[in-house]
Amino acid sequence: MNRRHTLAVSLLAGTLAACGLAALSACSADTPAAGPAALPAAGPATAAGTPSGVPVIVDANDRPMPLDPYLLDPAQIAAIDKAQSVLVSRCMGRLGYDYPVTAESADPSGMGADAPTTRVDGYFGFQSMSHARKWGYHPEGGFPAADDSAGTHLPAQEGAALNGCAGQARQSLTGSSTGDPGDPDFVVRLKFDTLGKGTQDPRTLAVFAKWSACMKAKGHRYADPMKASGDPAWSRARLPTPQEVAVAVADQECRRDTNVVGVWYAVDYGYQQQAVQQNSARLAAAKAQMAAHLAAADRVLH
């Protein structure tokens, strides 16, 4: 009873919080009383009033999620990486080596212009029809060309110098030569655990079934959106095939017609909010540690 209640409340509260951060008009339009947004009858969060908390959307990448503040966002990752690179470059310079600052690859999320800015992860698959029409399930621009420059073997002395400089950089950023300025392990676990629960939730499974029926009617047999985007056929070529684009476009149409993203987002939001509530002390500490790492990176870069 408690779990049902908690989930229902957190789901509703989560959606309300998300609406509060979105434009009010958009939020109103996203919460119709009927239509594909209605939650499936099964599942732990079917308390009265909850269905109206499910937005009707095709794209959640511009909507915040509860764990976002506790994981590095794309700009923060770039800053940490650049700071480490600058520190290593300076250290190597002091040892007599020319080791330029490394540039981060373009579009590391693979989602191009549709990528979220408050987090790295899309959670709900490709959510852009314009991307589907042009790139299918490939990242924008297709797969990157083979690049093994990062793996060049080094002379022994230079390798040893690099290892030492990497340790010093970590010391500068985290206060420990074995510190990790990346995402805290336990927050990463929460992210994956909640995502896993979301994809196994009866409400999500029910909307996946609707999506699958929609895809079948268009001639494509996939049990859920992950199976469609993960079709092994798509990874064989650097650029998408016409068949891949056809499936990706049908996928977007069925997402729109069944509100897969709206239901999935609301469910995942609820699980994340629950995780935040249950781990508030550890998350606060993790956030403070992240802030310290980012401040250290900022001091290096400015």
Partner: protein, 148 residues
């Protein structure tokens, strides 16, 4: 906390051996994937066993796959015997990798839980010169990876 400690211990152990090995002469250029049994500077190594498992099984990380290449789908890449064990040797890396150690001094290695280098579902970053267990929740989808 427990995992973090064990990851650090594992990383330190690997690092010590790799540093000793660095004294051996190496080619100035090499293919992105190699058959080195221990991870080398500038490369990333994916292991069959997690650090949790290794810690409770005498340091057995199992077989390894070392690479620096962009890999759009791990299914065509295979583990081989490492200095830390042979469990998993011959198996595809896809769905079987449990632990990643990143020996690049500055670049983050990103594991995409989807083939084709997109974080449309989820990604896991292994910061330069650090290590991490891959998440088992989506282990059946650990499908692609590259340095950022």
């Amino acid at each position: 906390m427990r995992t973090r400690t064990m990851v650090s211990v594992g990383a330190a152990a690997v690092g010590l051996v790799a540093t000793a090995l660095a004294a051996a002469p190496v080619a100035s250029a090499a293919p992105a994937a190699s058959t080195a049994t221990q991870c080398e500077t500038n490369f990333v190594c994916l292991y069959y066993h997690s650090s949790d498992y290794a810690t409770s099984h005498g340091g057995n990380y199992g077989a390894v796959m070392e690479t620096a290449a962009n890999i759009s789908d791990f299914k065509d890449w295979y583990f081989y015997k490492s200095a830390y064990g042979s469990d998993g040797a011959g198996l595809s890396v896809k769905n079987n990798a449990a632990y990643v150690t990143n020996w690049h001094p500055t670049k983050t290695y990103r594991v995409y839980y989807n083939s084709g280098y997109s974080c449309v579902y989820a990604c896991q970053d292994i910061h330069g010169a650090t290590s991490a267990d891959l998440n088992s929740q989506l282990k059946n989808n650990d499908a692609s990876g590259k340095f950022l």
